[in-house]
Assembly symmetry: C2
Homo-oligomer: 350 residues x 2
């Protein structure tokens, strides 16, 4: 186990050329079956392992995909990463991960590192601050596939993986309206990001379609953190009249908001019905249990890698699709049920 075995050692051992060894190990058709078997056996017996660097250097390919996420310590992104790792691993690809911590500066630096690491493809979920895609230009120029998921941006030759945020928000808001809410507040994140912009639209269209007025004053934007939920609750408590429904763009924030409202003596859902987004564990823990949108994180990760690998291997010819929509569900729990209807599950996207 001391010295590394190379194809030259195997070649010497079997009295063949390195060329043939290389071809045999790559299952090249121009090598005799019996020879292949001999070589394969010898390689295993000698404890040979391919040197990826020599191989990559020559092939100009790395078998590595890069991933840039806003935060690693988020339930949603953890689920996505778990899905990504699973598929990448199965397909024999390495995964390099880095986080932007929601800043454009780190996102740019990460993109550069990924580029220098010569990843074969890149998966990205954008930071709050990102305004444009200049830092990915080099990838586009070199034809390295880039796929955006969840927090996406439009680009001529990039595929995006999302859920139908507009429709999900529309259903959530409509559900509140059906429960009798007429004055609904929406708490959401940075509207530069499609996920929040689309949810706002869904909220707005639902109001309009049900002949309820839409007003900017009922939209609170923030960081969507635990802290932000608390602040939003305080803002809500200062409203006059008080709203009777709240639709929040993520569960962490929704739960913290709900808790703060409760502490202030608001009865949920009687005084105010609340809906979150993501179906995190906390949505099932908080009391009352939180109505929310089930967001298929793991599946989103798996799909993203699969599509990326197809693009890397050039086998995505027939599939021009620029945006892939995953299904999401409205999960109705106590926090939104003003009427005593039985809990049910509604499917809202394609």
């Amino acid at each position: 186990m001391e010295k590394e075995i190379t194809i030259y050692d195997i070649a010497r051992e079997l009295d063949l050329s390195p060329t043939t060894i290389s071809r045999a190990l790559n299952d090249h058709p121009a090598v005799n079956q019996k020879t292949k078997q001999r070589i394969s056996d010898a390689a295993a017996q000698m404890g040979y392992r391919s040197n990826m660097f020599a191989s990559n250097l020559r092939k100009q390919r790395t078998n590595t995909i890069g991933l840039i996420v806003p935060r690693l310590d988020s339930p949603f992104h953890s689920a996505v990463i778990a899905g990504i790792e699973k598929v990448a691993n199965e397909e024999g690809y390495n995964l390099i991960i880095s986080q932007s911590l929601e800043t454009i500066q780190k996102e740019v630096a990460n993109a550069r590192t990924m580029f220098d690491s010569r990843v074969d493809g890149l998966l990205v979920s954008l930071s709050f601050e990102t305004e444009n895609l200049d830092h990915f230009e080099r990838f586009f120029n070199k034809g390295i596939p880039v796929i955006f998921y969840d927090r996406v941006a439009e680009h001529r030759n990039c595929t995006s993986i999302v859920i139908d945020n507009l429709q999900a928000a529309y259903k959530a808001t409509s559900h509140l309206i059906e429960q009798g809410c007429t004055n609904i507040v929406h708490i959401t994140g940075n509207l530069k990001r499609n996920v929040y912009a689309d949810r706002l639209k869904g909220y707005k269209y639902a109001l309009i379609d049900h002949d309820l007025p839409f007003t900017e004053n009922n939209v609170i934007t923030g960081q969507m953190t635990e802290e932000a939920g608390k602040l939003a609750a305080e803002q809500i408590l200062a409203m006059d009249p008080l709203p009777d429904g709240i639709f929040v763009s993520n569960d962490t924030c929704a739960v913290s908001c709900l808790k703060t409202l409760k502490q202030a003596g608001v009865s949920i859902p009687k005084d105010m019905a609340v809906i979150g987004f993501n179906n995190d564990l906390t949505s099932r823990v908080v009391e009352p249990n939180l109505t929310t949108i089930n967001y298929p994180g793991q599946e989103m990760g798996e799909v993203a890698v699969k599509v990326l690998l197809m693009q890397i291997n050039g086998s995505s010819e027939g599939i021009p699709s620029n945006t892939i929509n995953l299904r999401s569900d409205l999960i109705i729990r106590e926090s939104s049920l003003k009427s005593k209807a039985t809990t049910k599950k509604k499917s809202v996207a394609t």
Copy 2:
């Protein structure tokens, strides 16, 4: 941006040898300062980027560290990974991540991939199933540093990063006893893993030191998942007499157990006081809020990488320490307060 620039291109441009270019870019002392500056300027201007594969191939070093975790979608491991990524990134190291999904079979496969990827060092938190360290032998043999964190195992030349699980569990259990509990159940995970074995010991010693009997029947082992918490609660409800305190080895499981007990009509903390472990978000959401051990995940990740990098760079000579203990705190909340003491924070480890 089409063709890649190499040091040969720069050499030709400046009428120097590739040798000098290489040395200059690596800040080798034997190159004149002015020459270095010229080269550095030209490199920047020409858009040069080093080819890591050529470099790695020659240097037999990869600037990459590997990470094997049980699950990527766990709040604790997410925090650790965030810490690891932060430091690794700052120090210019790439990170390759894979998950064992708690199986020995995947852990072995992951270790092999990491080895073939020639990582410079490896960080590992063991799976439930792992019995021995045979799959890391090749790393030991080649002198590639391996560091275990959280779920660790003893090995002559491996450093471990942990918290003092025994002491934390001892304090948690003692706190329950101080609150008047005399019949305490302990819910924990696979006792092959140090974290669970040590917590069991801490629980046991606390009982003994307070002259309370220890009995196997009060120890429930399981998968520590949401589901496992529910099952444990059912098992507890079938006990006669019912216990008056429960110490659970993680928050997810504790919360689910607490919820199930509440639904069955048990009053928390009056009938049963409950303590968890980890200080996950859910511990602050559940009602009553869960007393728990604060577990410094992010810090653990940061320390683990720092120590690993010291070992990689051979600068850890003076530091023989084989185990590094991080501080943890008992965070007292409502779920354990039978008496109406004010909430306080106790520090329990060094």
